[in-house]
């Protein structure tokens, strides 16, 4: 077998137009294969009383990363499961302390919330550093370089802005946090650059608020209609009306969520450049919404068994809508110095669902 020949099949030539090469992002994982990985992960996690969950996480991520390919090569997830296990133990203790304190008294809850506020910048920075450091493409790691104080300044400054403006300042905060996350990433030694996102984020969020108000009006009208036709029946917390009302609220919430997901991802990725590389991300809000609705219905109807299928089709959709555009071959990125990062920040922020999604 001739090495050069067989490799040219594995690594097809990218389409080029006007000096730019376009590399579509491929996602080659299959639901059947992931179903088996997922179910074995779950069973082993149960049998080992949760200890295996760290290994499960690494196998899952390695599977997804490996099957996400650009120019024929997949990504690599290199995290050490033992580091993740340690992080998880710390995270579990933090969750118990935080939610437990809330059950006992609001003063304690307030205190732990305050402590959490000052820990969260550390968590965000550490978790992004951990994820970046353990992600590699073509044997070159990503890095995240920022400091606790930079992140704290953003959180306190923009947090106050959000409070003073009664939430209306949130798009500013989100935009600044996304920018912070993106521009402190490096691929090897090449730093990410981000165009200004202010205008486009403002537009996205005012649209979302508009949609929200519209749906709110629909909900009020429907509730009023229900109240006049059903009378007191609707007050019963287990009645049909109550359930329909909750369901409607959930479906609306999901719509706004899908809209924000799609538009924020597009805006962010389309504004990032890494050296000679830029991205084209073209998610459609309605398609994302439909994807979520089908996923949730399928997961509920199959008592969770459709979860792997749902995850794979979501990731495939996202990959299909993403293209890497480079003015140069992808061969010239340079690795750099690297220092290891512990997993505690990543695990704690995952449990509390904090962090900045890109």
């Amino acid at each position: 077998m001739d090495a050069l020949n067989s490799n040219s099949n594995v690594y097809p030539d990218a389409g080029s137009a006007g000096g730019e090469r376009r590399y579509p992002v491929e996602f080659t994982a299959t639901a059947g294969e992931y179903f088996r990985i997922w179910i074995v992960n779950l069973a082993l996690t149960i049998i080992t009383l949760g200890v295996y969950s760290a290994w499960a996480k690494v196998r899952k991520k390695r599977y997804f990363y490996g099957h996400t390919r650009i120019d024929g090569e997949g990504f690599e997830y290199r995290a050490n499961p033992v580091a993740i296990l340690k992080g998880r133990l710390i995270a579990v203790a933090a969750v118990i302390l935080f939610y437990g304190s809330g059950k006992i008294s609001w003063q304690l809850q307030l205190a732990s919330f305050g402590v959490g506020l000052f820990i969260s910048p550390w968590l965000i920075v550490r978790s992004m550093a951990f994820n970046a450091y353990n992600s590699a493409y073509r044997n070159i790691r990503l890095h995240f370089r920022s400091t606790y104080f930079q992140c704290l300044k953003l959180i306190i400054g923009y947090g106050l802005l959000v409070i003073i403006t009664l939430g209306l300042g949130y798009p500013y905060m989100k935009r600044r946090m996304v920018q912070f996350a993106a521009e402190n990433h490096y691929y090897g030694v090449t730093q990410f650059a981000v165009a200004d996102l202010k205008k486009i984020f403002l537009r996205i969020y005012s649209n979302a608020i508009g949609i929200g108000i519209l749906l709110g009006i629909v909900a009020v009208v429907l509730t009023a209609l229900g109240a006049t036709t059903l009378g007191m029946e609707m007050r019963r917390p287990t009645g049909t009306f109550f359930i329909v009302q909750k369901l409607f609220g959930y479906v609306c919430y999901l719509g706004i969520f899908a809209y924000l997901r799609a538009r924020v991802a597009n805006a962010t990725w389309n504004s990032i450049t890494i050296g000679p590389v830029r991205f084209e991300c073209a998610l459609r809000a309605l398609e994302v919404y439909w994807l979520y609705l089908v996923n949730i219905s399928a997961i509920i109807l199959t008592v969770g068994l459709a979860t792997p299928w749902a995850v794979i089709r979501t990731l495939r959709y996202r990959a299909e809508k993403m293209t890497v555009i480079a003015t140069d071959a992808l061969d010239h990125f340079v690795a750099g110095e690297s220092t290891q990062v512990a997993a505690a920040g990543e695990e704690v922020s995952e449990m509390f669902d904090i962090g900045i999604g890109l």
């Binding site: 997922w38 779950l42 029946e233 995850v311 690795a335």
Partner: protein, 351 residues
């Protein structure tokens, strides 16, 4: 077959070099344009295989080889990552997958039915009573904010019931500070509930429904049973345990947060379990006899509650079919306390 195609990344730049790899003796040879490497096979680290994901060989010094030739690597590195190789074998065969599925199903069913309640039962042994009382006060504050207002009963009536309650709880010496709270709660009908730590809330509607004070004392004895057996705390812990379990099982789903928020509330709405009710009833019968009352009062009270429940239900059904526009809520004591007939029979048998 110890010769295979791979791609070489030196770890310094992102440049890609197609190479051929061959094993000769104890060494691995890598040949390609501008690349010739000889490395002892013991110094090469192979990653664990995961399905069809391309394999990675790490060479000393940070370089990498990537290949899709799974068969060649299996032959070259048969002993790499023992644990994960075993896991990979499980993932490959559908009958192991079936075993995993059954394991998960059995475990989910077992833990919802036995595991989580058992864990809650074990954990409560470590929760001090004053923390439980704080939890109860927190709940009472929430109840006051959302569904209950101050009682409309006269001060003398309340005084009377308080002294009955004092007789009921006198000399229990179980560490709980029992206190009776009167409330007027529109949403929950004729009802009484025990909060963790010793507070027992009784609604005006229930007091009015009772024919005599003995019947009220009988219901309160049952609630004392809930307090002593720490059922409120167990319910809270079971809810948290169920939420944690669901999050762990469904943690992969697209929107975990939404799922985690929605499900535990559904689980919690079912109220006390049959086991808790039986336990509280058993205690109530014993305690009533100790203070010289017959458990028949408890049976009488349940019968009255059931009659009221049925009447309300009928009214609600009529309202639904449009015969009457006036109906009040059917949510009451019996909605949170299941299987009444059986309990009435037990009370009568325990006289």
């Amino acid at each position: 077959m110890n010769k295979f195609d791979a791609v070489y990344y030196d770890g310094k730049t992102s440049a890609r070099t197609p190479v051929q790899v061959q094993r000769l003796g104890n060494c691995l040879f890598v040949f390609g344009p501008n690349v010739t490497i000889k490395v002892p096979i013991g110094a090469v680290r192979a990653d664990a295989r995961i399905g069809s994901v391309r394999r990675t060989l790490s060479l000393p010094g940070g370089a990498q080889l990537k290949t899709d030739d799974h068969a060649a690597l299996a032959e070259l590195f048969p002993h790499a990552n023992r644990l994960e190789t075993m896991v990979q074998k499980l993932e490959q065969r559908w009958h192991y997958v079936l075993v995993a599925l059954v394991t998960i199903a059995v475990f989910s069913w077992w833990s919802m039915d036995f595991g989580v309640p058992l864990a809650a039962k074990i954990v409560i042994a470590w929760v001090p009573i004053n923390i439980e009382a704080a939890l109860g006060n927190q709940t009472l504050a929430t109840v006051d904010k959302s569904i209950c207002g101050p009682s409309q009963l006269s001060a003398e009536r309340r005084q009377q019931l308080q002294s009955n309650f004092a007789v009921l709880t006198a000399g229990l010496q179980d560490g709980y500070r029992y206190r009776l709270e009167f409330r007027d709660c529109k949403g929950v009908g004729s009802n009484a509930f025990a909060l963790p730590g010793g507070a027992i809330v009784i609604t005006d509607a229930l007091i009015k429904l009772a024919e005599n004070d003995q019947q009220i004392t009988a219901v309160l004895a049952h609630e004392v049973g809930h307090v002593r057996n720490r059922h409120g705390l167990r319910l809270v812990l079971q809810g948290a345990g169920a939420a944690a379990l669901i999050t762990a099982l469904a943690g992969d789903a697209v929107s975990i947060t939404a799922l985690a928020v929605a499900l535990p509330t559904i689980l919690l709405q079912t109220g006390y379990s049959r086991e808790f009710e039986t336990q509280a009833d058993t205690y109530a019968f014993k305690r009533l006899k100790e203070i010289g009352l017959s458990p028949k009062y408890f049976a009488e009270m349940l019968t009255r509650l059931e009659a009221e429940h049925a009447a309300k239900k009928q009214a609600a059904d009529e309202a639904k079919s449009g015969k009457s526009s006036d109906s009040s809520t059917t949510f009451d004591y019996l909605s949170t306390h299941p299987n009444t007939t059986e309990r009435i029979q037990r009370a009568l048998a325990n006289q």
